[in-house]
């Protein structure tokens, strides 16, 4: 249980940005990437996201599982797109350049380009999300949310949730081991159905114990006057710095570039075949 998922302290550029600036940048870049179907733009975004991930000094061990799961999911998605809409790219770009065979399942350059773009969307968004999650102190983030107008009870709920992720992981680990020892097969050796029933059992236990904890925590917070006034202050309040301004301008610039490309292309799609 060495690799807990969530905020890790550090000294990188990303750690120094304020939580709210990071959230805005994350949203700006994600929106740009989701809207655009210009492969040049998506490639650039992916390169930036991956460079960022490297810069943020997040260890592979910590993110391995989520990366593998996402890649599997992405590949599955690509295969399914091909199975259900093998000529969607042709429909999109209005031309048909065959690579392999002919007929309804013929492989075309257009389809390949389309699927490459879908893959890139996964490839840029996952690193962005990971950077955000691993470098943002939940308290600073809540303070930031509250600052941009989100009610403090909602903002605080975010902190509490993030703060309980490691706890819940630890508890999951303990319950799993105890039940394995008892004889429920949840280990690598067991079959898929056994694993699934096992995990469902653990999760039910975990949910009940978490609900109990929520009750206790709520009471503990009220006893320390949470919810007393209309406003509250934040120990980890951060003021916007130069770094935040620069980062925000860069992110905005990137969005403008995306919109600019759309205007030049007269569409969200860049068509290299025309």
């Amino acid at each position: 249980m060495d690799n807990l998922f969530g905020y890790q302290t550090g000294q990188t550029v990303f750690h120094r940005l304020t939580g709210s600036a990071k959230l805005i940048i994350f949203l700006l870049l994600t929106i740009s990437g989701v809207l655009s179907f210009d492969i040049r733009y998506l490639l650039l975004l992916t390169v930036i996201a991956l460079l960022g991930l490297w810069q943020a000094q997040i260890s592979w061990q910590q993110i391995r599982v989520i990366v593998i799961l996402t890649v599997i999911f992405a590949l599955l998605n690509l295969i399914l797109i091909y199975v259900f809409a093998p000529q969607y790219g042709v429909h999109l770009f209005g031309s048909q350049h065959f690579i392999l065979s002919s007929g309804p399942y013929a492989l075309t350059q257009e389809q390949l380009l389309y699927e490459a773009m879908v893959l890139l969307k996964y490839l840029f968004s996952l690193p962005l999300a990971l950077i955000f999650l691993f470098t943002t102190n939940p308290s600073q983030f809540s303070a930031g949310l509250n600052r941009i107008g989100v009610p403090y009870s909602v903002a605080y709920a975010v902190t509490i949730t993030l703060r309980y992720i490691p706890n819940t992981q630890r508890q999951f680990f303990m319950i799993k081991k105890v039940q394995e020892a008892r004889g429920y097969n949840i280990s690598k050796k067991s079959s898929w159905t056994q694993k699934i029933t096992g995990v469902v059992r653990i999760l039910t236990t975990l949910i009940f114990s978490t609900l109990d904890q929520i009750d206790e925590v709520t009471q503990a917070m009220e006893l320390r006057r949470f919810g007393k006034g209309k406003k509250r202050s934040w120990y980890y309040e951060q003021s916007f710095g130069k770094l935040d301004a620069i980062a925000l301008i860069l992110a905005l610039g990137f969005l403008v570039l995306g919109i600019g490309l759309m205007m030049i292309n007269h569409s969200r799609y860049w068509n290299p075949f025309s």
Partner: protein, 559 residues
């Protein structure tokens, strides 16, 4: 002019909406300003309800009907909101982990001030001030979860004290602390109370630990009524606690066992000062009796060689060597973070082996590194501290039976065995109840059964008596005794010196990841240096004996 009491209850009766009968019945209490009151009572006596009435959790979050009058600082406060109450009464909760909301110590201390909407400068100044008072300056940037038990408790106190409430309510503050940290916390509380003129109310079942510090008033609750209200001295002299299923302090117990007349003692409530005619002679007789006990050695069952464990480049423990024998009952003691829990999990196979060896001494040889966790559980069983993490079935019977069912044991045999075990644990009558309605103590015993039913050679328990009152702890220990008598070797991590001394025959003491003693409880407790290193406290009967110049501990139970 009359000074208003800090707290006053006048004929307070309380009934939860969901219950038929009232939980508290006609409670009248006066708690003077600046005093310290200890509230004790068996589980279900209404202690927690009384606490909730004080801090406003009732009726704010738990609806019910309050009759009578509650005065706080002279004002009738029945209708005050939980926030109004919190300005007057700060509550330190039983489990600091549930109280922590901040990501760091600093933020957690600041929590109440943030909710008061103090300015950022004030937050920083006040946090610094309280951190200094409670010796937390070095820890401000750490997550509260990584601290030791004693440090956590200090953070929890700082987080409440920062709110400037003149009355402090502690709900079982010692439950999750080893005895040395408990004493340190109470000493700190003594200082703060004097300095700030606080009124302190402590609800606690570890009566002995609290009474080692000055207590102005003791209140005993029984079935929702005040059964005793008066001085600690009177309480001990009349030996009232045992009538309500609570334990007398150890030195009082020993003197009683020896037939010493308690009413002849002077300053009975202070083990450092208590005197009486012929006291020393009586104690010397007791010692002779203890020394005559011995335990025979049996065959080795598990050998541990050069065991080390690291976690994120930090050594949890290193080069641990010891051998367990058939039918032994051991305690593992040491401060929080000394490596006891990690060692237990490693033995149970919950953590991967790093360096060293754990070998079962049996023919044919079983290589523990090659078996699944399920197979390992037939040799070494592990009971976690929190029963919630262990119970996943719907009924009490099903919970105990699960392990056997998953091993394909014949149904008739399962029924017979499970029923016998349930009887041992006093759970037979409720065998068809759903698990989630059981009390904490019942869940705890059930979680032990769910592992013990597999009849492992060795049963490991992480703090089995934590958070339980004397009676429940005794029931649990009786269950373990039955298992032990059936031939099971029992290893338990514990903080409770009285439990260690009373029930176990051998103790392994840890300090900063090293095994510093492998001896009998008697010898360990007689050695003040080891006691300090293991962050234990000498039991009060030892303190008394040593103060009177009676030498203890030579020989010990294992002889």
């Amino acid at each position: 002019m009359m000074v208003a009491a800090a707290l006053e209850f006048k004929g307070v009766t309380f009934k939860y909406d969901v219950q038929q009968n009232s939980t508290l019945e006609n409670i009248s209490l006066t708690i003077p300003k600046g005093s310290r009151t200890l509230i004790v009572g068996p589980s279900g006596s209404g202690k927690s309800t009384l606490a909730a009435l004080l801090n406003g959790v009732i009726p704010n979050s738990e609806p019910g009907e309050v009759q009578g009058e509650i005065y706080i600082d002279g004002h009738l406060s029945n209708k005050d909101s939980i926030f109004d109450r919190s300005l007057k009464i700060g509550t330190v909760l039983q489990n600091p982990d549930t109280q922590f909301v901040g990501m760091t110590v600093a933020e957690d201390i600041a929590f109440v001030l943030e909710n008061d909407n103090d300015s950022h400068d004030q937050l920083v100044t006040k946090v610094k001030e309280w951190a200094q008072r409670l010796r937390l300056e070095e820890l401000l940037d750490l997550a509260p979860q990584v601290l030791s038990g004693g440090q956590k408790q200090r953070v929890a106190m700082a987080g409440v004290l920062a709110g400037d409430s003149p009355i402090l309510l502690f709900d079982e503050p010692l439950a999750s602390l080893d005895s040395a940290s408990g004493q340190a916390m109470l000493t700190l509380l003594d200082e703060l109370q004097a300095e700030l003129g606080l009124t302190v109310v402590i609800i606690e079942h570890r009566v002995e630990d609290v009474l080692r510090h000055t207590v102005d008033q003791v209140v005993v609750l029984q079935e929702g009524e005040v059964a005793y209200q008066g001085s600690a001295a009177e309480l001990l002299k009349r030996s009232i606690l045992p009538d309500y299923g609570l334990a007398n302090p150890k030195y009082i117990q020993s003197l009683q066992d020896l037939g010493y007349p308690l009413d002849e003692l002077e300053q009975i409530d202070d083990v450092q000062k208590v005197t009486g005619p012929n006291l020393k002679n009586y104690l010397e007789r007791d010692l002779a009796r203890q020394m005559s006990q011995s335990v025979e050695t049996t065959s080795p069952i598990l050998t541990i060689k050069d065991l080390s464990y690291q976690y994120q480049n930090h050594t949890v423990f290193s080069n641990i060597n010891f051998t367990l024998h058939q039918g032994e009952w051991l305690s593992l003691v040491g401060s929080n973070g000394a490596g006891k829990s990690t060692l237990s999990r490693l033995l149970a196979g919950f953590l991967p082996m790093q360096t060293g060896e754990i070998r079962l001494n049996q023919e044919p040889e079983v290589d523990l590194s090659q078996v699944t966790l399920k197979e390992r559980a037939d040799y070494i069983g592990y009971v976690a501290q929190n029963p919630v993490e262990m119970l996943i079935e719907t009924t009490v019977f099903g919970e105990v039976a699960a392990g056997l069912r998953l091993r394909g044991v014949d149904d008739n045999k399962i029924t017979a065995e499970v029923q016998e075990y349930l009887k041992w644990a006093n759970l037979y009558e409720i065998r068809n109840w759903p698990v989630n309605v059981l009390s904490f103590g019942q869940k705890k015993r059930l979680s032990i059964l769910s592992v013990a039913i597999l009849q492992p050679k060795i049963l490991i328990l992480d703090e089995p008596t934590a958070g339980q009152d004397y009676q429940h702890a005794q029931q649990l220990m009786t269950l373990l005794q039955k298992l032990n008598q059936s031939g099971m070797t029992i290893v338990m991590v514990t903080h409770d010196v009285n439990i260690m001394q009373e029930w176990t025959s051998r103790v392994l003491a840890f300090h900063q990841g090293r095994l510093i003693a492998d001896t009998t409880p008697g010898e360990l407790l007689a050695n003040q240096e080891l006691v300090a290193l293991a962050e234990l406290c000498q039991p009060t009967d030892y303190i008394l004996a040593q103060r009177l110049g009676v030498t203890v501990g030579k020989g010990g139970k294992r002889g």
